[in-house]
Symmetry: C2
Subunit: 351 residues, 2 copies
């Protein structure tokens, strides 16, 4: 099939810049149009990104019959509404994480149900899952036997006090109900579930959390207990230096990815937004004695690879519900962790 | 001072082999004699290690006026008795960890009090604290600002099922009341306290633990909360592949030591007992953006450095109570963690 999948971008959020470049870098997709609540803003953004069509409302974009799929980087509180509207218009949906429904998975279930009923793909924006490195790591993981324990983190230091105290979408619960738990925490929680093949934990615990001046989570550490006494620990937030890793401890060795989400090599932070992302070329596998092997992989822009996945599913005309399961599972765990802040240290079950 | 400090070794435990070699490698000390409960065994071990004097009882060794200090690698349940007896004979004491008194620090306080009253040094066998790398890491830590969070681990995979199920001193609570919590857990707990400058946590939690067939701890994970909402997490045991690290997250960057205890480079496990230990030549410092710097250090045998510390204190005739504080603090935290197994997930205070 020669023609590229045509993607419409709904909203001109900061992250849309990065994903727009990725869409146009994919050999299977192109940015076809962009919509903003103001036509002027949409036109301006379209011009800056060399996009021909700009709409002054999200509805108009959804009504365009040439749009195959949409990318939704709206604030979390608006994601459900526009995902369901898009699905009802038979548009495939790529939604930026975290997913809505801070303390339950009902929202998510509604979104996915709507996509499945309309026969369209639902995919969340977890780019690292699509990298070449992740495929190799998954293979290595299988070779190392049962996963026994996982430790993961995603933290960065807020660029300034105003940012930390609610001046950014991530730190204002009106836009991001879970705050940094959802935003940064999506990655370590997703990495833990990846390691445990998306098995749901028996229960989760909030070990510690911090709120900013507008009562939004800016730091979190949690514990997950899986079947058969297997555990995971993670932390996330905007109060520590940049860390982004997962350690997967298996029966016969361990896998360590020390720049899970990136940026540029190990120097991540916000560079991923504004620099050409080349991805990491290696991860570590230690044997049971602790002897380290550096596993070399082909570098790739994992956001482009994510677009490839999305476009290939659309082209194939066969939706892949395994992605729905991954999104839902990750969200269910985050929702339980969010509820766990009300009972620090106690076991909270997945609903 | 030209003459070497004369050290007597009390018991011929497995670890005594390693420490005997280290003592004789120190330019400040020498192994002067060894004692076992059987003269034959002591003589045999002395011959194998080129030691002139062998005693068939610990008392005889303590009565030898030429002995300056003793090294005590006895099972944990016997350490208090022989430490106090040694101190009363005015011998300086180097005691293998963990320290006795599984669930309270009273034993430890008695031991230290006895050493202080007798004007002799008390030092536990935490070798990594004496390495050149630790000195450089400590300096780097100070440059990175306040310590906010620490993650650490010490695990290895039991060589076989019999070993795991009580066939080794570490896995039999009659010899090692805290099992692998004391034995392996001593390192990550000590590393956490090193990072927090030996401040005691406000409380600790046992998050998970496992017992073997003889009810001895073989796996443990715990959480420590320090003042000002600073945290630490660790795990230890004999059920996972070899891991031995500490990550110290500070305000302006982080320090990662990925082979804290060693072995030989990163391939640790039991090699440290039987091979010439050369130590690690590097650790990692990441800046606030996550950019990694490899810090090169002079390799050293940290057990030899520990002997140097012990011998230098004895030669100086001035005991250093900061080591007493480090031992006591580490033991207090382990005792609280041990008590915490009775109330998994709950906050337990240091006594």
């Amino acid at each position: 099939m020669n023609s590229k999948i045509r993607i419409g971008i709904i909203s001109t959020a900061e992250i849309a810049h990065k994903v727009c470049l990725a869409i146009n870098s994919s050999e299977y997709a192109e940015v076809y149009c962009v919509a903003s609540r103001s036509l002027e803003k949409a036109r301006q953004w379209a011009d800056a990104h060399n996009i021909k069509i700009a709409y002054g409302s999200y509805e108009e974009l959804l009504d365009d019959p040439n749009v195959d799929g949409v990318y939704i980087p709206l604030p979390t509180s608006l994601k459900k509404e526009w995902t369901i509207k898009a699905a009802n218009k038979k548009k495939h949906v790529l939604v930026e994480k975290p997913l809505p429904g801070a303390d339950s998975s009902q929202c998510m279930e509604d979104m996915i149900k709507s996509c499945e009923e309309n026969g369209v793909q639902f995919l969340d924006g977890t780019m690292w899952l699509h990298s070449l490195r992740t495929q190799v790591a998954k293979q290595k993981k299988q070779e190392l036997g049962k996963v026994l324990k996982v430790t993961a983190a995603m933290t960065f230091k807020a660029p300034n006090e105003e940012w930390l105290q609610g001046g950014n979408g991530r730190t204002n619960k009106n836009q991001e109900p879970q705050g940094c738990l959802g935003d940064q925490g999506w990655y370590p929680v997703g990495a833990i579930l990846f390691a445990f093949d998306y098995e749901l934990p028996k229960f989760v615990k909030c070990l510690s959390y911090k709120l900013n001046k507008v009562d939004t989570i800016i730091e979190f550490s949690g514990f997950l207990e899986f079947s058969d006494e297997r555990y995971a620990y993670f932390d996330c937030g905007a109060t520590f230096p940049h860390r982004s890793f997962v350690d997967i401890v298996c029966e016969n060795g361990q896998i360590r990815i020390d720049d899970l989400v990136g940026g540029f090599g190990r120097t991540g932070n916000f560079n991923a937004y504004f620099e050409n992302y080349v991805g990491s070329e290696r991860f570590f596998v230690d044997d049971v004695q602790g002897k380290e092997e550096v596993v070399k992989v082909d570098a790739c822009n994992h956001t482009v690879k994510m677009i490839d996945t999305f476009a290939n599913i659309i082209q194939s005309k066969k939706t892949d519900h395994s992605w729905h399961h991954k999104s839902l599972t990750t969200h269910q765990v985050l929702a339980a962790l969010f509820r766990a802040t009300q009972r620090v240290g106690e076991n909270v079950q997945i609903l």
